[in-house]
């Protein structure tokens, strides 16, 4: 089977859903299931608390991940005690989350577990690198895509995107939206040294001069950029925006009529519409991000929560044509392969 063998060639990979009900958890479970026969040591964790899990307060069902024997999983103390499998504790990290410390454990039997992980980008990176202590070959990250989150799935080497009818019921529109995200994910990264420097900046708009020196432009909010009285190009036309990238920001930079190199933290910070993004690039400007990332596959869920069902085959073909990467309907794949059936 296709993209799963591609997964283990990466040190870390995140699975990201473009919208709720696009089948992220199914994709994750499918990947994990397929990796059961792999000789590689797999680890799995999550980024912080995503919207769904916060619903533990409202008693809504939380997605559980099926972990097979031998897989290392990382989750908070709270979720560790709720696990439905036998697991050996390898380590308890000092990293504290809202739900206690992170527990690194190895599954000794197959079973279900709720994942939670570090809530900031630095924490995720540190965790992935620490896992090498346990000979982990590939870490799979359940990547919450939240613009409010301090952690971004962009820190992994590769990514799988779950999309589907929940994002748009119109196939051409769904394809366009997904393609835009792919474009953003695969933005050219800045060099590693500059990336480290910029990652340390938590907010603001910064200019980077020719000697890679950083200058704070003292713009309180991106929404104030056109109100700024100082020359934002005082130190050159290379700018870094630590926070959200809005339509307003892009348009403001575009109207200055000089080629700007805009560096963004990662794709999840882009709020701007595709229209403005395209106009920005066409004006001779460039956009780069801090992390090198690669989209290795897209999974689709043709069923929308309102009951609307898109034609899987049409959708799959349309996406593959535009994205040039494998596109799968995970549910269909499972039907084909009865030996890998899930217990739900």
């Amino acid at each position: 089977m296709p993209f799963v063998k591609d997964v283990v060639t990466h040190k870390s990979i995140s699975v990201v859903g473009l919208e709720k009900n696009t089948g992220k958890t199914e994709t994750l479970n499918y990947v994990l299931k397929r990796l059961r026969t792999s000789q590689k040591q797999i680890a799995i964790t999550s980024i912080g608390l995503d919207g769904e899990r916060i619903d533990s307060v409202t008693q809504t069902q939380k997605p559980e991940i099926v972990v097979s024997k031998g897989v290392i999983f990382v989750t908070s103390e709270k979720h560790f005690f709720e696990k439905r499998l036998t697991a050996e504790i390898l380590d308890v990290s000092n990293h504290r989350t809202a739900m206690g410390r992170l527990v690194i454990a190895k599954a000794l039997s197959e079973g279900k577990v709720i994942l939670s992980g570090p809530s900031d980008t630095v924490g995720v990176r540190k965790l992935i690198s620490n896992l090498s202590k346990w000979d982990v070959d590939t870490t799979i990250v359940d990547g919450a895509l939240s613009r409010l989150s301090l952690a971004s799935p962009a820190v992994t080497d590769a990514m799988i995107l779950a999309t589907g009818a929940a994002l748009s019921a119109n196939i051409p529109q769904l394809v366009r939206k997904t393609l835009f995200v792919k474009q953003l994910i695969e933005l050219e990264p800045v060099d590693a040294e500059l990336s480290e420097q910029l990652q340390a900046l938590k907010s603001g708009i910064w200019a980077i001069d020719k000697e890679n020196r950083l200058h704070d432009l003292d713009i309180q909010s991106v929404f104030m950029i056109d109100k700024s009285e100082r020359d934002i190009f005082e130190f050159g036309t290379r700018l870094y925006v630590a926070g959200a990238v809005s339509d307003k920001l892009i348009n403001c930079l575009r109207t200055h009529k000089r080629p700007v190199e805009l560096i963004i933290h990662d794709f999840s910070k882009v709020f701007a519409s595709q229209l403005n993004f395209d106009a920005f690039l066409q004006g001779g400007n460039t956009m780069k991000s801090l992390f090198k990332n690669k989209l290795i596959a897209v999974t689709i869920n043709p069923l929308a929560p309102n009951g609307l069902m898109l034609n899987t085959e049409t959708l799959q073909k349309a996406l593959e044509e535009e994205l040039n990467i494998p596109v799968y309907d995970v549910m269909e794949l499972q039907k084909d392969d009865s030996s890998l059936k899930f217990r739900e």
Binding site: R84, T86, L108, E110
Partner: protein, 462 residues
Amino acid sequence: MRIKEAIAHISGFKFVIDALNIQSSAGRRILYALPFLKVSEDIEREIEKTEWLIEGMKEEAFSQKIALIQMKMGELRDIASTISRLKYNTILDDIELFEVKHLAILADSIGKEVKKLKLSFVIIPDLTNTIEILDPQSKKIPQFYIYDEYSPTLTSIRSEISKINQSEATDDEINALRLKEKEEEDKIRRELTQKLQPYGVDLKSALNEIATLDLLIAKAHLTKELQLTKPTFTEEITFLSELFNPEIESSLQKQGKEFQPVSISIPAMPTLITGANMTGKTVLLKSIALIQTLAQFGFHVPASSAKIVPVDRIICCMTDEQDELSGLSSFAAEMIRLNKMIEQIEKGESLLVLIDELARTTNPTEGKAIVAGVLNFLSEHKVSSLITTHYTIDIPCRKLRVRGFRLKDENVKIDIHNINNYIDYSLEESHENEVPHEAIYIAEILGISDDLLHRIKSYLND
């Protein structure tokens, strides 16, 4: 006094504490609980431990072992609260059991290294029994779960679960088995906790011994790094030779300047220190407070040699921003402090009193009287004390004077940037009552306006 208070009140103490490279949070806990030692023998015993490590670390092999131990200490977790839960027989959960096992195995491995180094003052109890309880597979690795080996019932439940997982069973069937597994696991946790309970004391002592060693190693490194000296203790006269202040020294070094070490003796009587402005009187008092504090917490001290009389309490009367915040005028705050000091002296406590420019915030006539009165009291009660002043005080007492602007060079224009080079910070015995009159000269060097200087000088000549 606790370390926390010393950090807040003793200038330069935080700098030294921050320079300590402690690996574990338990080590930091031990640091913050260090007692302020008042008996010479206790302090000596404490300092001897650091000294022992410093001596040992001169040897390459010893030093490498210490580095290895330090690396292992990075793994130490402060599980004091888990251990006390054990004391009250609360059933430990898997994470807590893991922590106990982790500590026991780590302590075992650090203990072996400590034995090789013959560190007689670190006694890590034998935790073999604890390890055995939590390691039924005898793997000697710190991982933990409720092992199948603990109970045949558990083994059979688990094998049933794994069998049923392969087949087409319903969720309910699996959940029923999981519940049985959970019950059995709980039973085992209860048994494990009971078995571990007698070893709680040993676990606690192992944790604290390792944490203490962590602190000691950090102290040994600190001594080398800041070039501190082993102090000795006496009942008679404190004598500090070439004392310096690490924080000020480091900040001067950054500006390309040097700290001029000063020597001083402090007998059991008041000493009045005079000297022109900018001659380092305040820094001198702060450095002495720092040295006395460090020594009594069992640290080496910044001086080339130090003979110290331990005291019950160090009283520092210096400008404090806190006064204004608490709504007191500087004069009121000073008087309240003086009064506290008097009470403590009358209670019979031995003190080291350091007062910077006593009564400077009031009129010179009454100010002088206050200084004289305090000197008289301190003299009668034989209190080791240093008081700096700009007032001319003519009652007989021991007087020291900072040599000050003795290094004048006619060819060089002295200004604010090079002024330090022309000051001799050392002290000399003085028998004159008259204090140095160099305030206006210094103001001139600092470059204040000619107009103002002219006016000032016209009044001085009156």
